[in-house]
């Protein structure tokens, strides 16, 4: 696919009228002239920022990381902070306050972070000068989440840092902890007053990692507990999928191109398939997975979030709430499956032993920390519909699973067949058009259409027009955590999930989980590791005369 869009005809032999481009240099010059005549610097904006990588930079702030010694902090959060720091995207008045139970000094914790960066930073080698500056800003605070006094002293320490580091009372609290600890930490923060924003500056924000509850009721309770302390506008629920470059591109693709919107509806779309496939198993997190399963781990958040981005109406602006209102409208329009529909249109599966990528792998029940009789699903597939004018009658087939043949996340829009087959004598029927958006790996977009095979006959074959991120933009994409942490620091909640979105997603998934709990024990395992899930998943879609895409 041609990645360029800025070709403007000019000169002899070219059309006299230029196609509409974003802004021509002429328009820009006219704007400049006008600006010179009328401009008066806006005291709230930095005019020198225009045209730079960030037109706004985060305010001075303290980044308070709870669970700083944990796996998530070391693998994702801290490397993202380092990367933002290294590329000058964080303010100089910044401090990283690491909070955890284990005893460390500032120096010993910084040394541990340094070792983690050697392992997990996506850019190597570590930039010594940048690291030295960041290391100066790392403060370790030992704290047991149930210890009132430790929270009191955290508040005092943060006040001191405001004076020492100029962090101006702005604090971002990032909870990279066990989900069960969230409520207690938030309660303690409320008790100490860490949520209180100050007049004339001093914002407080809370970033919470998924899972946001384990069903509708628990999610509502969690939201209630969090909102007892923090206002909803202060809460940033992070689903790292939404920070992926290709997911963000989905919005640009849909709303930055005029040609797709007219066909993006029930009149032209036959069905939509969304796949989130993982080739890995539970990777030593058997105990966690036993409590979640594919429906809680992937369906309730990643799959439904991708579905909302595909199905949402164009927002009136790219303000966080305008975007999230539209996503919420989709979630609320998804038909909640009845018990009978759950039986026929939602499939669960669990992998048994098999071969993945040429290696023998154990079945789920043989994984460490997993019950040998476990009924936890490692695969889920379903047929969902959306009751609105745009999508009524268009099935959305969603599937996600572990130990599938490959790691692949893809959204495929399959368009309707042509109304009349003109090329009946062709050796093969032209396949319907497909627009596939590859989220990972090989990020890109593919459009399949029919073409005549060269020769004297009139054979028709499907060909792919492929846009690959790799070959069109040969620059490193930021990690999703870098994007999302920077957004949270800037106060942009567009890519974070709002409480009502979470609850609406749970209201779709909870009836499924409840129905399964009441049904007889499934015949698990029902698919071999390295296959595309149980046969029932194929039957689910084949009943409609369709089949899963071969990814």
């Amino acid at each position: 696919m041609d990645a360029s869009t800025d070709r403007r005809p000019k000169g002899p032999g070219r059309p006299a009228t230029a196609p509409p481009v974003a802004r021509t240099t002429l328009q820009l010059r006219q704007a400049a002239t006008s600006a010179r005549r009328h401009s008066r610097p806006d005291p709230d904006k930095n005019p020198l920022r225009e045209g730079l990588r960030l037109e706004q930079v985060p305010d001075p702030c303290a980044f308070v990381l709870f669970g700083a010694t944990g796996d998530l902090a070391h693998r994702k959060v801290i490397p993202a902070i380092y990367q933002l720091w290294r590329t000058n995207l964080l303010p100089a008045e910044f401090s990283l306050v690491a909070v955890a139970r284990r005893p460390y000094t500032n120096e010993s914790f910084a040394a541990e972070i340094r070792a983690s960066l050697e392992k997990y930073s996506r850019v190597q080698p570590i930039d010594e000068a940048a690291w030295a500056e960041l290391a100066k800003r790392i403060v370790y605070h030992q704290l047991d989440f149930a210890d009132d006094a430790a929270f009191d002293s955290l508040g005092t320490r943060l006040d001191e840092l405001d004076k020492e580091c100029g962090t101006a009372g702005n604090r971002l609290f990032y909870l990279a902890t066990q989900p069960s600890q969230v409520t207690e930490i938030v309660r303690q923060m409320g008790r100490v007053g860490l949520d209180h924003e100050m007049r004339g500056g001093g914002w407080r924000r809370l970033v919470v990692e998924k899972p946001f509850g384990r069903d509708f009721e628990s999610a509502r309770l969690l939201n209630h507990e969090v909102n007892k302390v923090f206002r909803e506008s202060q809460v940033y629920r992070i689903d790292h999928y939404l920070g992926k470059e290709t997911v963000r591109n989905l919005l640009v693709f849909r709303f930055g191109n005029g040609i797709f919107e007219p066909v993006w509806n029930r009149s032209y779309v036959d069905h939509v398939q969304i796949t989130v496939g993982e080739s890995i198993g539970v990777e030593g997190r058997g105990a966690f997975y036993e409590e979640t399963g594919a429906s809680r781990d992937i369906l309730q958040n990643h799959l439904l979030q991708l579905m909302t981005l595909v199905a949402m109406e164009p927002p009136s602006s790219f303000q966080a709430d305008a975007l999230r209102d539209q996503k919420l409208a989709v979630l609320r329009a998804i038909c909640t499956p009845t018990p009978d529909e759950i039986k026929h249109e939602i499939v669960r599966g669990q992998y048994g032993p098999g071969w993945v990528e040429g290696e023998p792998v154990p079945g789920y029940r043989q994984e460490p920390e997993v019950d040998p009789e476990s009924e936890t699903e490692t695969f889920v597939a379903g047929r969902f519909t959306i009751d609105d004018w745009r999508w009524s009658g268009v099935p959305f087939y969603l599937r996600a699973g572990k130990r599938l043949p490959k790691r692949a996340t893809e959204i495929a829009i399959q368009f309707k067949e042509v109304p009349l087959r003109l090329f009946r004598d062709s050796a093969g029927d032209p396949a319907p058009n497909v627009l596939a958006m590859r989220i990972q790996p090989d990020e890109g977009i593919m459009l399949r259409f029919a073409a005549k095979v060269p020769g004297l006959g009139l054979d028709v074959r499907a060909v792919n027009m492929d846009f690959a991120y790799d070959t069109s933009f040969v620059v490193d994409s930021p990690d999703a955590y870098e994007t999302l942490i920077l957004d949270a620091l800037l106060g942009d909640a567009s890519l974070f999930t709002r409480a009502d979105e979470v609850e609406a997603a749970w209201s779709v998934v909870t009836p499924i989980i409840n129905a399964w709990a009441e049904q007889p024990a499934p015949h698990f395992p029902d698919y071999a590791a390295g296959s595309w899930g149980p046969e029932t998943a194929d039957q689910l879609i084949e009943r409609d005369g369709r089949r899963w895409r071969r990814i």
Binding site: M1, D2, A3, S4, T5, D6, R7, R8, K10, G11, P12, V21, A22, R23, T24, T25, L26, L28, R29, A31, A32, A35, R36, R37, S39, R40, P41, P43, N46, P47, L48, R49, E50, G51, L52, R53, V57, R86, N88, P91, A92, D127, A129, A130, E133, G201, E357, G358, E359, D442, P454, D466, A468, D470, T471, S472, F473, V474, V475
Partner: protein, 423 residues
């Protein structure tokens, strides 16, 4: 990784020959790659993942084969880059820069040189096909480099060579590494072919101001997107300076600037001949003036001391501009220091920015007392980075457009018809 897939370099002597050689090259490139994939598959058969990847690559290459078994390699559709190298040495240097941009470079690069203008007419061409992978396991893409040497009068008709060799329906970037001959017949013929013009104002001969004025006029007249490396190079200065004025209590000072002083490197004290290139120092002023809503009261003029001055106006008060030469170890014309003085409600703020190879340093004095001292890790951009940025930028960048337009006004170019001041 760039892999040269052709064997002995073909030499063509006409446009149809060049086109023919290009087709042959890609067909042969595909065979080489298919064989490599096959060998790779056999070699790593024990490692299923790698074998699967190799097999997929092989299958993909077979799938897109034509009846003759030849593979038409995928090419990234980015843009045509036309390099007006002029002489062989410049062509080699440009080719190295293009190669150093690895996968970022254009789909097709035409590097044009001219020899023996009084001799017999004709052209020679050689072609390189490159298969590029940015990292292991990533998709390959193809790109082409066509080196054309025009002899005799052919050198005066380069447009007739360029047009047939452009990849259809892709933007055209025209890179003029040396002094662009803006007011010549050649420019008249070549500039209409381009969607964007890549120049390096800091490499122009003399003080560069006459040419900068012409560039501003040409950009305005032709509605041309200009990528001037001299301006791109300053992005790290701009980031550092902007970061300091992000501090809320310093920001109001941006509306109360009284003086902008830029010190630049010159070999001789006072730059007595006035021939040190001052495009970069002027761009600092132009960028600040355009961002801060300043208008030009009196254009730039050179004093006997070698200093250049101008007067701007911002919200009812005047802003003095000074470009001052300073003996320095830095290459001539490099910016040594930018100083911004502002006065607001009795407080004088002086912001000073200086840069080294690896960093940019900013110091803010508030009524003579040091208020902020920061060092930003921001290495100086290399030529490959600059070219990469210049070809990757999609549309007109408003900041560059305004800065160039303001630079033109500082040089007395009020419209395309006006001539700019000289050195």
């Amino acid at each position: 990784m760039a892999q040269d897939l052709n064997g002995p370099r073909p030499v063509a002597h006409s446009i149809p020959e060049v086109e023919g050689q290009l087709s042959n090259l890609w067909a042969r490139a595909a065979v080489v790659r298919a064989q490599a994939a096959d060998a790779h598959a056999r070699l790593v058969a024990a490692q299923a993942e790698a074998a699967a990847r190799a097999a997929a690559a092989l299958a993909a290459s077979q799938e897109t084969s034509d009846a003759g078994g030849h593979h038409v390699a995928a090419r990234t559709s980015v843009l045509n880059l036309v390099v007006m190298a002029g002489d062989a040495d410049t062509a080699d240097a440009c080719a190295l820069t293009i190669a150093a941009t690895a996968g970022r470079h254009a789909s097709r690069s035409l590097v044009l040189t001219e020899v023996d203008p009084e001799g017999p007419s004709g052209l020679d061409a050689r072609i390189e096909a490159l298969a590029l992978t940015t990292s292991a396991g990533k998709a390959e893409t193809g790109a082409e480099m066509i080196y054309v040497t025009a002899h005799g009068e052919t050198g005066s008709h380069l447009a007739s060579i360029i047009v047939p060799l452009l990849v259809h329906d892709l933007p055209v970037a025209l890179w003029w590494p040396a002094d662009p001959p803006f007011e010549t017949h050649r420019a008249e013929r070549l500039l209409p072919l381009a969607d964007r013009l890549i120049v390096d104002g800091s490499a122009w001969s003399g003080c560069g101001l006459g040419m900068l004025g012409q560039l501003a006029a040409v950009a305005e007249q032709r509605n041309l997107v200009v990528m001037d490396w001299a301006l791109l190079r300053q992005s790290r200065w701009r980031e550092a300076l902007a970061s300091v004025y992000d501090l809320p209590d310093l920001r109001p000072h941006l509306g109360a600037v009284r003086r902008i002083e830029v010190e630049y490197a010159a070999t001789k004290a006072g730059d007595p001949d006035g021939d040190t290139n001052v495009v970069r120092p002027l761009y600092h002023v132009a960028w600040l003036a355009s961002r801060l809503g300043m208008t030009v009261v009196s254009p730039l003029r050179r004093l006997d001391t070698g200093t250049r001055t101008a007067m701007l106006r911002q919200s009812g008060h005047e802003v003095e501009v000074v470009l001052m030469p300073a003996v320095s170890k830095l290459p001539d014309g490099s910016t040594v220091r930018v100083e911004i003085t502002s006065r607001l409600r009795g407080a004088e703020l002086i912001g000073t920015v200086a840069a080294s190879d690896r960093s940019v340093d900013v110091v803010i004095l508030d009524n003579g007392r040091e208020r902020v001292r920061r060092s930003y890790a921001a290495p100086r951009l290399k030529d490959a980075d600059l070219l990469g940025r210049a070809v990757e930028e999609g549309a007109a960048d408003p900041v560059s457009v305004h800065a160039l337009s303001t630079a033109g006004r500082l040089l007395g170019v009020e419209s395309a018809a006006h001539k700019a001041v000289g050195c």
